[in-house]
């Protein structure tokens, strides 16, 4: 009986650990991002902007720091970032239009709605572009100068997106409970089988 309980407990603990593995620690949540172009992608369509999607909304009053450089270390001029209604997708225009062929590195640092700073980096390659090669000029990264003014709307958006995140967490937790249940049943059955021998 005690062994059954201990098996059950270890199954529950395993399930909890899986939950955390799926969701990730809170401190790292805003480091996770998707992008267009994607990391390691080779792109043949014109690249005129960079788009980043984060797990949480970005706090726009803390100007994001965004850099785009060629593999030769030339900085590509960027415009001010804009955000979608959720606040979690950031679009940064490339001032000079479509990128010429070559390999690029993009880096960013943002602050998410809960005040957590996050930074990341991605590399992509442009092929088949008919844009002229970039003029070599030292350009500093562009920082968005003006925070958004419609704070009310922004706050509502952020709350909504947090609700979605919480829903996601809830589903993950529910899945973990199901997994735990299955593990417990399997463990108990194995235990019974071994007992019957």
């Amino acid at each position: 009986m005690i062994r059954t309980i201990s098996l059950t407990l270890s199954a529950l603990i395993a399930a909890l650990l899986m939950t955390f593995a799926v969701v990730g620690p809170a401190s790292a949540h805003s480091d996770t991002f998707q992008s267009t172009p994607a990391d390691d992608a080779t792109v043949s369509t014109p690249v005129t902007e960079l788009q980043f999607t984060f797990v949480e909304a970005v706090e726009p009053s803390f100007a994001p720091e965004v850099l785009l450089t060629t593999d030769a270390g030339v900085a590509v001029p960027l415009g001010a970032p804009t955000f979608d209604a959720s606040g979690a997708t950031m679009t940064v225009p490339i001032t000079g239009g479509a990128l010429p062929n070559g390999s690029y590195t993009a880096a960013f640092r943002i602050v998410s709605a809960d005040g957590h700073p996050a930074s990341g980096e991605l590399v992509f390659t442009v092929e088949g572009s008919d844009a002229d090669p970039l003029a070599v000029e030292p350009v500093e990264e562009v920082v968005s100068p003006e925070p958004l003014t419609d704070d009310m709307l922004r706050t509502a958006d952020i709350q909504e997106s947090q609700g979605q995140l919480q829903l996601g967490l809830g589903l993950a937790a529910a899945a973990a409970v199901v997994v735990a249940g299955v593990l417990v049943i399997v463990a108990v059955r194995r235990r019974r089988n071994s007992d019957s021998k």
């Binding site: 880096a107 602050v111 005040g115």
Partner: protein, 410 residues
């Protein structure tokens, strides 16, 4: 001019003579574990043969400047805010300040106030200091607006402020500091008994730093976020003269200073959700030793242009250090903060924060530009909220027979 050092002439008064030897040691900034040991051994071993008032360490009361500003922060501090009673005139203010000065001169040197119902609580001053300051209302009520110090002004409303009257304003501040909480409580009570005959209380705020002897003497304190706080303070006599002590206009304020007292609530629970990397980025300094993220030692000069391997600023654009830092010598001042801990809010969160006490010759030119930059942008604002604010003109010190504020009220 050594800060608050004592000359024999200054100390040879009825209230401080007995403590001259101890005083000289403390005032030169030599306070350390050893110095605390002096008081302890006297108290434990030879109390019978030593006069009561010589137990404990004293900071001189009389001098060019009031004590409690360039005095290394004591472990305990209390600020009392008062409003003058309606109809107060200059004669009442003179009597108030004469009596308060007398109380402070006695208590800081280990002697009971007159009268003092608990004289045995007075004999262990443990670096007790009492500092007085006048709010804008003090000048208005007494018709002395034209004698307000240059650059002494109310603060503008900052966007980050959520001020409550409970911790804001005041015509008179009494700042009391000591390394001994019992001594502090006794001194506060004596001063309160005097003040309330002329004034009504607005607020009382208490805070703490580390206990003396638990950190190396002269080391920079930590706040409840765990940050080393106050690295860029003026330390030398010439830095203090340039940043803290007023000179010139008006002449009565020569040797005085201005105090900004801000009560800053700190949201510890959300702060705790930030990892150490995020905490360091928010301030721009390392948590372990306070070094700028571009340096290795606390007092290294931050390099605001330094980039990391990704090309991003090592000290981010939103970091408190970058926003507060100034190359302008006219925007520097002394920070002498105390932490506060008022227990637990009904929702279970911690009711803690910082009594941010800052001292400068001119609020308008030295303090407001820095505070405005921090209000405009500072990631640390995410976890901090100013809930109280007050400004006071701290008059110069006085000599035996005089009283604090005599240049204004005489």
């Amino acid at each position: 001019m050594p800060p608050r050092n004592s000359s024999p002439a200054e100390s040879d008064t009825s209230v401080s003579r007995r403590n001259f030897l101890l005083t000289a040691g403390v005032a030169t900034g030599a306070l350390a574990v050893g110095a605390v040991g002096v008081g302890t051994s006297v108290a434990n071993g030879t109390a019978q043969s030593v006069p009561q008032a010589s137990v404990g360490l004293t900071v001189p009361f009389y001098g060019k400047h009031q004590a409690g500003v360039d005095t290394p922060a004591q472990s305990q501090g209390t600020f009392l805010g008062w409003t003058l009673k309606p109809g107060s005139d200059r004669e009442a203010a003179r009597r108030l300040m004469s009596l308060l000065t007398d109380d402070a001169a006695r208590l800081t040197q280990g002697a009971p106030a007159l009268p003092d119902n608990d004289p045995y609580l007075a004999g262990h001053p443990d670096r007790l200091t009492v500092t007085f300051g006048f709010g804008p209302g003090f000048f208005r009520t007494l018709g002395l607006q034209d004698k307000m110090p240059a650059g002494f002004t109310e603060l503008p409303a900052f966007s980050i402020d959520k001020l409550t009257p409970q911790y804001s304003g005041g015509d008179l501040v009494i700042q009391v500091g000591s390394d001994d909480p019992l001594t502090l409580s006794h001194a506060v009570r004596q001063l309160t008994r005097t003040a309330r005959s002329f004034c009504s209380k607005v607020w009382s705020q208490s805070g703490f730093t580390r206990d003396q002897g638990t950190a190396p003497a002269g080391s920079t304190g930590r706040n409840l976020f765990g940050q080393i706080d106050g690295t860029i303070n003026p330390r030398t006599t010439s830095e203090l003269a340039a940043q803290v002590w007023a000179t010139g206009q008006p002449s009565w304020f020569d040797g005085g200073t201005c105090m900004v007292l801000r009560r800053i609530e700190m949201a510890l629970d959300p702060w705790d959700k930030l990892d150490d990397g995020g905490k360091e980025l928010s301030i721009g300094r390392r948590l372990d030793n306070g070094a700028p993220l571009t340096g290795t030692h606390e007092f290294d000069t931050p390099d605001l242009n330094a980039k990391d391997e990704k090309g991003l600023h090592v000290i981010p654009t939103f970091a408190h250090l970058r926003r507060a830092k100034t190359g302008n010598d006219h925007e520097k001042f002394l920070r002498r903060p105390f932490n506060y801990d008022e227990g637990i809010h009904p929702d279970g969160s911690s009711n803690v924060g910082l009594l941010f006490a800052a001292y400068m010759a001119n609020i308008e030119t030295q303090y407001i530009p820095v505070q405005q930059r921090l209000a405009d942008l500072d990631l640390l604002n995410t976890w901090t909220t100013p809930i109280g604010s007050a400004v006071f003109a701290i008059p110069p010190g006085c000599q035996p027979g005089g009283y604090i504020g005599e240049g204004l009220l005489a």
